[in-house]
């Protein structure tokens, strides 16, 4: 690596909008509020911002938001494809921009009326006008056409190879709901569930029950990235981006990489982990807490393996030992995650990871938190970031 971006950039501000099932406002307004509040959280002014990043999926133009919020001249803007796979990709783009001087203050945002507007759970059976219609055509005639069903296919294979997978899936859903029950911003605030509720929840696609699946949310999240230098003098202690990577492993299809030798794992995330660890000089032992993309419960298991917290096929044991709990080895998704806080395509996870490093999570673990992992959606090209305190 000729240029190492580790330590060059920092997250200075974060914000979420209110999360709901029906925001009653436009996606432009959600995005504007998240962006405004993240800039304010950083102690900056809208006119300080000169870069913006978002998802290709996002419906709101950068310049629309810039004009609404009163942002000044932009010298950098970029979009990342692949749905939730873009979550930390926004930070990745922003870090590269500030590390190279293309911009100094970059706002990363994502806002969607994901419940009251277009619902991703409705699958790809509708009129599909995108260029990947041919791709989905290999699956739709058989009825395999929802995100849950694609991930379930990997999961069944994982269950065939590993032990106690369903119990571990419950543990993940349950731990996260317990976090959410204590998070006033979470959709499922004060609404815990137990194993009987889990077992009785509606079957979606084997082996997924309703409570294995993330929700659909109206809301927005934003993150302000600036140089480590500038972040020093801002409102909150700088949260340094120590490592950040994007990866799409060979032989990949969007959500349906069913043709690799083994499918019960996430090779793209293996690559992202290797890159981020190399940049940062950190290893799994250095990571104190995590925000792991959780569209469905088992994807957390595979990512724990990718990032080296346990061996291949050992994640269920790791999880069932209580690792993800507040007093565990790796408190994870302390906001409730996308299963129980809100589904903002993982950007609310970047917000939470930042808060964990700052010591501001509503479920802040008792132990010292120096370094936090945050990841993007998997099954698609993905990525991850390692955030930590400045030394």
């Amino acid at each position: 690596m000729t240029i190492n971006v580790s330590g060059e950039a920092a997250i200075a501000g974060v914000a979420n909008t209110e999360f709901s099932k029906n925001s009653g406002v436009s996606e432009l307004e959600l995005a504007s509020v998240a962006v405004r509040d993240a800039i304010a959280d950083a102690g900056l002014k809208p006119s300080d911002v000169d870069g913006m990043t978002t998802f290709t999926l996002d419906n709101t133009d950068e310049i629309e938001i810039a004009r609404a919020v009163g942002i000044g001249d932009l010298t950098f803007y970029s979009r990342v494809p692949h749905g939730g796979g873009a979550a930390t990709g926004l930070v990745h783009q922003a870090v590269m921009a500030v590390a190279t001087g293309m911009a100094e203050v970059v706002v990363c945002y994502r806002a969607l009326n994901g419940r009251s507007g277009h619902r991703y759970s409705s699958g790809v059976a509708g009129p599909l006008l995108t260029s990947d219609a041919i791709h989905w055509g290999w699956y739709t005639p058989y009825g395999l056409m929802t995100p849950a069903s694609w991930v379930a296919m990997y999961t069944q294979r994982y269950m065939h190879l590993a032990e106690n997978v369903q119990d571990a899936m419950f543990e993940i859903a349950h731990v996260q709901r317990q976090y959410a029950a204590k998070n006033p911003a979470a959709f499922f605030y004060q609404r815990p569930f137990d194993r009987a509720d889990y077992d009785a929840s509606r079957p979606i696609v084997s082996p997924f029950k309703m409570l294995d699946c993330c929700m659909e949310t109206d809301g927005g999240s934003a993150v302000v990235v600036t140089t480590a230098e500038r972040a020093k003098d801002l409102k909150h202690p700088a949260v340094i981006v120590k490592g950040v990577a994007q990866a799409a492993a060979a032989d990949m299809e969007s959500m349906t990489s069913f043709y690799r030798p083994e499918i019960a794992r996430i090779p793209s995330m293996d690559i992202a982990a290797k890159m981020a660890y190399e940049q940062s000089g950190l290893c799994a032992d250095d990571i104190d807490a995590a925000v792991i993309y959780d569209a469905f419960t088992p994807i957390v298991l595979w990512q724990l393996e990718s990032w080296g917290f346990c061996d291949l096929l050992e994640a269920p044991k790791f999880v069932l030992d209580g690792a993800l709990r507040s007093d565990g080895r790796l408190p994870t998704n302390t906001h409730g995650g996308q299963l129980s806080e809100a589904y903002i395509h993982g950007v609310n996870g970047v917000v939470e990871a930042t808060r964990l490093v700052r010591g501001q999570s509503v479920n802040q673990p008792a132990k010292e938190v120096n370094n936090v992992l945050v990841t993007s959606g998997v099954g698609v090209p993905t990525g991850g970031a390692l955030l930590g305190r400045s030394d």
């Binding site: 436009s26 307004e29 504007s32 304010a40 004009r67």
Partner: protein, 136 residues
């Protein structure tokens, strides 16, 4: 002015702009006003770019203004519009700008800074939108 059988392309109405077109339907040329700092803005947006407030109301514009710029459309011709079509960018007396159509005026009579006033145009299908004409 001839009435076309085909109607003009209508604006898409969303949460941030429907109220403005509803006002136009009532005959009002509305200008959004920030309740935080009183600044005016157009076209409508959910947040004030001066003070970032989301609170707003609107004022009814006087309809008086001057031509800031203009263009005359000849080609291509879309059904539902009358050509040559004079499109003006009007600097309203209140300070905001609005893009509209100029009526009651030949293309070669339009000029910069020309005083204009708003007239509500009602299409055959009932759709109402503000036009401008030379001040009388």
């Amino acid at each position: 002015m001839s009435e076309s059988l085909v109607s003009r392309i209508k604006p898409v109405l969303g949460l941030d702009n429907k109220w403005w077109w509803d006002q136009a339907a009532e005959g009002v040329l509305a200008i959004q006003r920030c309740q935080g700092c009183q600044s005016l803005r157009h076209p409508p947006r959910p947040m004030c770019d001066q003070c970032q407030s989301q609170e707003w109301d609107f004022i009814s514009a006087s309809g008086k203004g001057t031509v800031c710029s203009f263009t005359v459309l000849h080609h291509p011709k879309f059904p539902g519009y009358d050509y040559p079509l004079i499109i003006v960018l009007v600097e309203l007396a209140e300070g905001t700008r609005i893009t509209s159509q100029l009526t009651g005026c030949e293309p070669d009579e339009v000029d910069f800074d020309m005083p204009v006033e708003m007239v509500m145009q009602r299409d055959a299908d009932g759709f109402q939108l503000p036009y401008f004409r030379p001040s009388q």
